[in-house]
Structure formats: C-alpha cells, structure tokens
C-alpha cells in the first residue's frame, strides 16, 4: 500500500461567532500517495474550511493532522509555512496569477520562498509549463491567456518544487466546459505520474473523474458511493 500523505483524525474547526460555527466536525480521512480525491458538498458545508486545514493555511480547533507523517497541529507558524511551501501546491478557482509578470515568472514565483536554488529556476519553470502544455505561452502575461491556459499556468506553478500534494479549490469554477475538459485531462496525466490530488468541486463532471469521492454535509464527512 502507498504511503499516506494526509492523515486526518477527528479534526474539527470551530469559528468563534455568536453562536460559534462548527465548520468541520470531527473529520477523519487518510489520503495516500497517488490518490485523486474529490470533496463534494453543498455551499457552506465546510469544503473550503477543510481545504484550508489540509493546506496548513488554518489550524484546526481540535484533532490531529499528519502531512507526510509530520504532525502539523503543534508546529509553530514558521515550520508550517515551510512545510506548506515545500509539500503543497495550491490551485485556486481564481488562478491568482500576478498580472504584471510573464507566465514563466509566475511559475518561478513558487521557488522564491524556501531553500530553492536560483540556479536553473527558469529551466524548472519551463519544464513545469511543458508538463501542463503551455510551452508556447511562457512569455505571455496572464491577461493574454484564455481561462483554461491561466489555470494551467497556475497548475504549473503548483507543480514547481515537486509537491507531494496538489490542493485544488474549485479549479474549474471559472472555466467553460472545453477548458474544464483540458484541466481535467491534465489532472488525469498528473495522477498517472503519481501525484496526489485533492479537489474540491460541486461539479459532477469533475468529481466523476476522481478515483475517490467524499461528501461533506454540515461539516460532517461521509464516503460518497
């Protein structure tokens, strides 16, 4: 059996409000290397909250979360930041590309923080762009790319530095069906290369492609048949 990348045990996240919001409620799940997991659920069910916890952007209120075998909940901010930069690639619904930088510079940004050498950074970025099929657009600024190309550039950035986990929050939310198809095909490729992918989506087309589906309802996780 492949190594576990994500090990969640009874993870809850409560937001202080009046009354407090229990956004995710004692979630336990393992994601192993090479898994392609889709998290589905209605709006407000806690999908993004779970993804933020998985991405070390937010701390759970209780429970334990091991990433690549490292218990993260007790780590200090700096260590979590380093772990995040090293192990996790994010793909956002709204791409988050820097408008004034070329595609390749946007991808190179992924190695600015952390202990990556400057040497050959551009080559590595070009390689990542090659993986997503954007070799012909490396010098473009994002505003001259189509939506699908933008998301592929963002995926190339997420792939820089060789993460163990790709975390995607509605990656096709801003794309038409043709571009959605291209991105999903890319995910299939990456998964075939052994990358671990977790995708939040409310689109059936996306969740169908994933090898594994879980449903979250009112913060409670259940396997989806």
């Amino acid at each position: 059996m492949p190594e576990p990348v994500i090990e969640l045990e009874l993870v809850s996240k409560e937001f202080p409000a009046d009354p407090p919001v229990l956004a995710i409620d004692e979630i336990s799940i393992d994601v192993r290397q090479g898994d392609y997991l889709a998290i589905v659920g209605p709006s407000g069910s806690g999908k993004s909250t779970l993804l933020n916890v998985l991405g070390l952007l937010d701390r759970p209120t209780s429970g334990s979360y091991r990433l690549d075998g490292t218990e993260t909940t007790a780590l200090r901010d700096g260590a979590r930041t380093r772990l995040r930069g090293d192990r996790i690639g994010f793909v956002f619904q709204s791409f988050h590309l820097l408008a004034h930088r070329s595609v390749v510079e946007n991808v190179m940004l992924a190695e600015v923080y952390g202990a990556h050498p400057r040497k050959n950074r551009r080559e590595r970025a070009l390689e990542a762009l090659d993986r997503v099929g954007l070799s012909h657009r490396t010098g473009f600024t994002p505003d001259r790319l189509s939506g699908g190309e933008r998301q592929r550039a963002a995926i190339a950035r997420a792939l820089m530095g060789g993460p163990s986990l790709l975390l995607c929050d509605e990656p096709t939310g801003n794309l038409d069906s043709r571009n959605t198809g291209a991105v999903l095909a890319l995910f299939d490729d990456l998964r075939a290369q052994g990358l671990t992918i977790v995708v939040i989506t409310h689109e059936n087309e996306v969740s169908r492609r994933a090898g594994r589906r879980v449903r979250i309802t009112d913060g409670v996780l259940s396997e989806d048949s």
Partner: protein, 392 residues
C-alpha cells in the same frame, strides 16, 4: 528567501505600477531637493560672503570723541596707549571740524598763474600713523613724523585725488600749497586707501600746526585690530583713550559682521529647512498612504505568496523594500535636482559652488530612511494578514 529574490520581487512590485511609483516619489523629491538646495546655497553663499567680507570691515574700530568745552577728552598722545592694547595693529588720532572740512586750498600759483587751482578740500590734523590706520600707502613722498610734529613744521600730506585736483605731481621741487593764506610744503601723497577713502580728498597736517584751522582736539581715533580682536579692542579702547571718561566716547565697532551674516542667513535657512522637512514629512505620508493602498490592492497576492511558503517577515520585507526604494529614488532624484540647482544658482551669481559631498550622499540616504519609515505600518499590516483571509 534569497536577498536577490527579495530585490526582484520588490522591484517588480514597484514597476508593476510605474506611474503610481513615480508620483509617490514626488513628495520625497520635493523635500530632498529643498533640503539640498537650502544647505548647498547656504554653504556656497556663506563661503562667498566670508570671502568678500574682507578683514578690513571686521577689524576696523572707530572711536568718536565728542567736543568738550574745557579739557579735551582724548589727548594726542593717548593713541600710544591704544597701540599697546592686545590685538591692536595700528591706530591714529584725527582732528577734524565742520569748518576744516571745507577749506579753500590752492597749489603754488606762481608755477602756473593761468590755472585756477583753488579747491575746496578737507583739512585735518592727525598723528603720524595715519597711513597704516587708514590702510593706505604713500604713493609718493612720506608722511610727517614725530620730528615734524615736535618742530611744528608746516608740512602737509595730501590725498592722491586732492593731488590731482591741485596739479601736484612730482614732489621733487617741494611744491607748496596754500590753505587759506597759510603756506605748507607737500611732503607726501597718500593713496590706495582701503579705509577712510575720503582722505584721498584731504589735506593732512601735523596736529601741532592745526590750531589756526580750529584743529585743536582729537575728534576721532581710527584703530585697526587683528582678526577677531575687534570686539575686545572696542571694549578696551575707550578706557585706554580717556580713563574715567570712557563712557563719553562713542565706539563704532564692526557690526560683528560674522554674527550679522549668520543671523540673517540662519533665519532664511531655518525657514527653508523647515520647508524641506515638512515636504519630507508630506512625502513620507504620501509613501505611507500609497503603500497602504497598494497593500490593500494586493491582498490576494499576499495570500498567494503565503500559500507559496512566504513567511510574514518575507511579506513585510518586500513591502518595506518597495517603500524604501520609492524613498531612495525620490532621494536620488531630489539630490540630483538639488545639486543642479545649487550649481545653477552659483553660476547665475558667479559664485563658486560649494557642495559638501557628504550632503550629496546623505540626501538619497535620507530619502531611503523616509521610505523605510513610511513603509513600516503598511508592511506590518501586510504581514499581519491571515493567509486564509487574504485568499478568500
């Protein structure tokens, strides 16, 4: 994060909005320019004035002796006591009255009876040190000495312009002049006067022969001091000249030219310095404002960077560097404009520009510090942002 990467990111951040970045520097440019111009022009002008303020004015002390019915306030030999004062380089006593200032003087009309040679000149009696005291030179002949004075010789020294008017050129044949009906032998011509220039139109005679023109008592004492001694000498001279009556004498000390200049210039400088500092503060507020706006606009960029592994200090460092570079740019431009202005002003006034290299180097640094300080708060705000909130 590598320093080079920090540079790249900060520069890219600035260059992403070049017009805004340029406008943001304006306040700093203005402030630094004002400061450099103020300090540069002050230094340059100060240098010129010091150069032009010849020692002459700064070392000339005059004591006016009011007329007294009975005993004279200052005797003729009192001058020697002044000469002995520390810091006095030369001194001479002079007697001059209203009447003696307009006497008819003729040259020897036997030489050229066809010429009208009568001139209205000022006649005064003086001690023997007058050429030095008036900072002049005997262009010809000699000044009368103690012997002439003692013997009550009828000798006169005339100013160079008076000599021209009277047609006295060569002294070889001992030309005579007539002051009223009294004949005097001209033994010298005094010229190149740098003090008491009106002596060039005067006839100077020994005090012992001046009584017939009402030149009895000392009316004025001219004192020259070494540089910096004028103050002290002008306080001590009255006592030396007229012990016990020193308060009756009127001392005209140099108007402490150095202090006067400094005062006037200090006021102007202070005003411009304040103006420059105010501009700098305004510039800093401008940078702070724009950086804050930029931070707010770039919230999602901050979130992205955090998701890519940027720590809070990396975010803070980038915004601090951006604002510091903004300030530095303003400083460099301001310093350049300032230097150019100082040189231009100097050229227009035909001054030698005097620019402290340290000032030219410190100005960009000051701009950078302004930018750094201005960036503190926005950078803190950016660093404090929670990545989850920034990415929302």
């Amino acid at each position: 994060m590598k320093i080079r990467d920090l540079w790249t990111e900060a520069l890219a951040g600035l260059l992403a909005r070049p017009v805004r970045a340029a406008l943001t520097t304006l306040g700093t440019v203005l402030g630094i320019t004002t400061l450099v111009v103020t300090l540069g022009v002050a230094a340059t002008a100060g240098n010129q004035i010091v150069g032009r303020f010849d020692e002459l004015v700064a070392t000339a002390v005059t004591v006016e002796v009011p007329e007294q019915k009975n005993a004279p306030l200052v005797s003729w030999d009192a001058v020697s006591r002044v000469t002995r004062l520390r810091g006095v380089t030369s001194a001479a006593a002079v007697a001059e009255t209203k009447d003696s200032a307009n006497l008819s003087v003729r040259s020897n009309d036997l030489i050229d009876p066809t010429r009208v040679t009568a001139q209205t000149l000022s006649v005064l009696a003086s001690t023997t040190d007058l050429p030095q005291a008036a900072r002049g030179r005997m262009v010809s002949g000699r000044f009368f000495d103690a012997g002439h004075v003692r013997r009550q010789d009828r000798v006169a020294v005339i100013g160079d312009r008076a000599a021209k008017l009277l047609g006295v050129g060569s002294l070889k044949r001992a030309p005579a002049i007539f002051i009223g009906k009294h004949a005097y032998t001209v033994i010298g011509i005094l010229g190149e006067l740098r003090r008491e220039r009106n002596l060039s139109m005067a006839v100077m005679i020994p005090p012992s022969t001046g009584r017939q023109f009402g030149l009895r008592d000392v009316t004025r004492v001219l004192i020259n001091t070494s540089l910096g001694a004028a103050d002290l000498v002008s306080r001590q001279a009255p006592t030396a000249l007229s012990p016990g009556n020193q308060d009756l004498l009127q001392v005209i000390a140099p108007p402490s030219p150095i202090r006067a200049r400094d005062k006037a210039q200090d006021d102007v400088n202070a005003l411009f310095l304040i103006l420059g500092l105010v501009s700098l503060v305004v510039g800093a507020v401008g940078i702070a404002n724009v950086t804050l706006v930029t931070v707010m606009e770039r919230v999602s960029e901050i979130g992205l960077r955090r998701s890519l592994g940027a720590a809070r200090r990396h975010i803070a460092a980038q915004f601090l560097l951006e604002s510091t570079l903004t300030g530095l740019t303003g400083g460099v431009i301001g310093a350049s404009l300032g230097v150019v202005t100082v040189v231009a002003v100097s050229a227009a006034k035909q001054w030698t520009p005097l620019l402290d290299v340290r000032l030219a180097l410190a100005a960009p640094l000051a701009g950078a510090v302004v930018g750094l300080l201005a960036g503190l708060y926005p950078a803190l705000r950016a660093a404090r942002m929670e990545p989850v909130d920034a990415l929302r």
